[in-house]
């Protein structure tokens, strides 16, 4: 009885906080849930009642884009969908999304929740997920998550709390695929070899040891990082059979497309999102959609019209220049972002690196980024900004950027003003998490106009 009262109070206070935030003109993505969880820690279990299916999306990269696309797929299929589309993926953000969606009543209520890989245990302890999707496990914020194998072990432990849940796993990531060993109801998806696939590994590898034998896996090809087609030279561990796969991946000025192949079907999906990593996002969301009964024709239409969320390669115009803003947060993500946006057009760059808690305190990862696409591009100047501007500048200096082309301006606003004075038509801004909102606000203040998804210039394949 007492619990019930406390729970009602928590929901009331959380929704009051959400209302006050809205009146104050702020979008609250975590605060209401944070308050409500303080009042009643068991709140998630209560809010999860009546939601079916509940889909949890976790992994290092691609959570936000994948879960947003999946939410749109389910919406188009006629569901009312509760989701945390802004990427607030710790328990407070999950609770906020569920509080906001608590009003919708009754039939056809689904939830698509993006959950931080470090928070999965807490969330799955309370939320009876029906489907858990794991995108990939890449090196990210080592000071928070420690090592990949440890992270995989903690995810495995979290998944053990929901033995009935179906799993949708990335077959191309050996660490992710190994999460399915010994479980029932596991589905794998994968991207077949593309013209961009490499046969040589990236300079820095991780997660490429056999989960049983601890010997390095043999790869037929790599997409990026340790993702690709692998087999163990000693035991029978190999990339699992895929229930869903992307074949014939193409990338041109209209975006990217591939054949989506599933049990008994094959449709061509065309998306405005650039890059191999977005092909994964589209493939992952479409596979989850198929598992939940979304019609192939609905998938095709929704994917075609889908646009990325904030900071996931955003286009804008500023002072007569064409600009693009990209969130970077780990080596593979930053390398892939550079492969996507660094092209043949002369551009000025801003690389704004912070080391606050949400960015990761340790910036050693900058040295693991494959900077080749940037070094080979036509840059007029590279301006380093943020709290770790000097670290970035030193890294670029040793990577081969001349001192004349480098500039260090820790203050982001001054860096933006300086960049607009460069005699080029393109401006490319890479920001870590805590610089992103600030950068967007500054751009708005300087009169930038937002554009739809950015289309990369054609400069492939590497």
């Amino acid at each position: 009885m007492f619990n019930l009262l406390l729970c009602s109070l928590a929901v009331f206070l959380g929704r009051l906080a959400a209302l006050l935030c809205r009146l104050a003109g702020r979008d609250a993505t975590s605060l209401p849930g944070c308050i409500a969880l303080k009042v009643f820690p068991g709140l998630l279990r209560h809010l999860a009642r009546g939601l079916n299916p509940i889909v949890i999306v976790t992994g290092t990269n691609g959570k936000t884009t994948t879960s947003n696309l999946l939410a749109q797929l389910l919406t188009a299929q006629g569901w009312q969908v509760v989701y945390n589309g802004e990427g607030a993926n710790m328990p407070a953000g999950v609770a906020t999304a569920m509080l906001k969606g608590a009003k919708a009543k009754g039939y056809g209520r689904a939830a698509v929740l993006e959950v931080d890989e470090g928070s999965l245990g807490i969330v799955l302890g309370q939320v009876p997920a029906h489907l858990v999707v794991v995108t990939n496990l890449l090196r990210d914020q080592l000071d928070r998550y420690h090592e990949l194998e440890q992270l995989a072990a903690s995810i495995k432990g979290a998944l053990a709390q929901v033995p009935e849940a179906r799993l949708l796993l990335n077959a191309d990531d050996s660490l992710v695929a190994s999460l399915g060993r010994g479980r029932k109801g596991v589905f794998y998806y994968g991207l077949e070899r593309t013209p961009l696939s490499r046969t040589r590994p990236a300079d820095v590898q991780e997660g490429h040891l056999c989960p049983s034998c601890r010997v390095p896996l043999e790869y037929a090809y790599y997409h990026y990082g340790h993702l690709g087609s692998y087999r163990c030279p000693r035991c029978d561990w190999a990339r699992p059979e895929t229930a869903f796969r992307a074949e014939d991946f193409l990338w041109d000025e209209n975006g990217s497309s591939f054949h989506f192949v599933f049990n008994g079907g094959r449709i061509r999906l065309t998306s405005a999102l650039p890059g191999v990593y977005n092909a994964y996002n589209v493939l992952t969301a479409s596979s989850a959609g198929m598992l939940l009964g979304v019609e192939p024709s609905v998938i095709r239409e929704v994917v075609k019209d889908f646009r990325p969320g904030r900071g996931r390669i955003e286009g804008f115009r500023l002072a007569g220049k064409k600009g693009v803003l990209v969130l970077v947060k780990n080596p593979v993500g930053m390398a892939e972002a550079l492969r996507t946006v660094a092209g043949n057009r002369p551009a000025a760059y801003i690389v704004a690196i912070n080391d606050l808690a949400a960015d990761g305190r340790d910036v050693s990862w900058l040295w693991d980024v494959d900077l080749e696409p940037l070094l080979k591009s036509l840059y007029s100047r590279i301006i380093c900004s943020g709290l770790r501007a000097w670290d970035m500048a030193v890294c670029l200096k040793y990577s081969g950027v001349s001192l004349e082309a480098l500039k260090v301006i820790p203050d982001l606003e001054s860096a933006l003003r300086e960049a607009t004075r460069e005699p080029v038509d393109n401006l490319i801004i890479l920001c870590t998490y805590t610089n992103l909102a600030l950068c967007r606000r500054l751009l708005k203040g300087m009169g930038a106009h937002s554009e739809a998804a950015y289309m990369p210039p054609l400069s492939r394949p590497a």
Binding site: R139, L142, D143, H146, E147, L148, E149, Q150, P201, D203, V204, Q205, E206, L209, R214, V215, P216, R361, D362, V363, S364, W365, L366, W367, D368, L387, W390, D391, A393, V394, C395, K397, Y398, S399, L403, L406, V408
Partner: protein, 250 residues
């Protein structure tokens, strides 16, 4: 003049931008007209002790480090011979632990190390992580060495601290978070917990390591000064932000 660097287990021990150190050594040598050859050796590769002037070993995830550790023991006799021949060693984080006498795990198992550094390591419960600065008098430059540390192990200098640490903690944890020492230096072998691209923000340490490596073939080589403005600015920036009001042991 040519420098031969051996990067041990570049595919396994590469956790925190470790390859940055190789890049820094390479550039700083090249800017002075010294040729550099870098060889990566991994599992099962034989090691010719006469061939190399400098061995570099980084940090790795537990699994990878375990695999490398077993292989490293088979390379042990060659490495010992190489050090006796005058080769220098820079071992970081996991590599530092492997170059000590042993690592005692949380379960009490003793994993033998190479014993080329007079240190031993015990598992700790809490990870020691954060920005760190140390004073390293050996470098002959009063400016501190700065970096980031993130380790579960507690390393102790043998003989009740008789062995020579690389430096003394200004802020951060160091070897074990208790005795104010950081790293170890013994002859031409250096071990430290300051991980990742350690040499990038510490040009004095980078040149010290370069000079150690060149000694094997060429004796004392005067290293021409370079323009290190950016590097020192990065070094001072870290001190300014994290050095204020913080004491060792944090």
């Amino acid at each position: 003049m040519k420098l031969h660097i051996c990067h041990l287990y570049p595919d396994l021990l590469n956790l925190y931008g470790d390859r940055g150190n190789i890049l820094v050594l390479y550039r700083r040598a090249r800017w002075r007209g010294i040729a550099v050859e870098i060889t990566g050796l991994s599992l099962g590769d034989p090691l010719d002790p006469k061939l190399y002037d400098l061995f570099f070993l980084g940090g790795g995830p537990d699994q990878e480090q375990g695999v490398a550790a077993r292989d490293l023991l088979t390379k042990g006799p060659w490495l010992r011979e190489a050090v006796e021949e005058g080769a220098a060693v820079l071992a970081i984080c996991g590599g530092y632990q492997l170059f000590g006498r042993y690592y005692r795990t949380a379960g009490g198992n003793i994993l033998p190390g190479l014993g080329l550094l007079p240190v031993y390591t015990e598992a700790g419960n809490r990870r020691l992580k954060g920005n760190i600065a140390i004073r390293a008098p050996r470098l002959g430059d009063p400016r501190p060495v700065v970096g980031f540390e993130n380790h579960g192990g507690r390393t102790f200098l043998e003989g009740d601290g008789q062995a020579e640490p690389l430096g003394h903690v200004v802020f951060g944890f160091g070897n074990n978070g208790a005795d104010g020492t950081e790293g170890c230096i013994s002859g031409r072998v250096i071990g430290t917990y300051l991980h990742g691209p350690l040499l990038a923000k510490n040009p004095h340490l980078a040149d010290y390591v370069l000079a150690l490596a060149l000694q094997k073939r060429y004796g004392e080589v005067p290293l021409a000064p370079l323009n290190d403005e950016l590097e020192w600015e990065a070094n001072e920036n870290l001190l300014r932000r994290f050095g204020r009001g913080r004491r060792k042991g944090g």
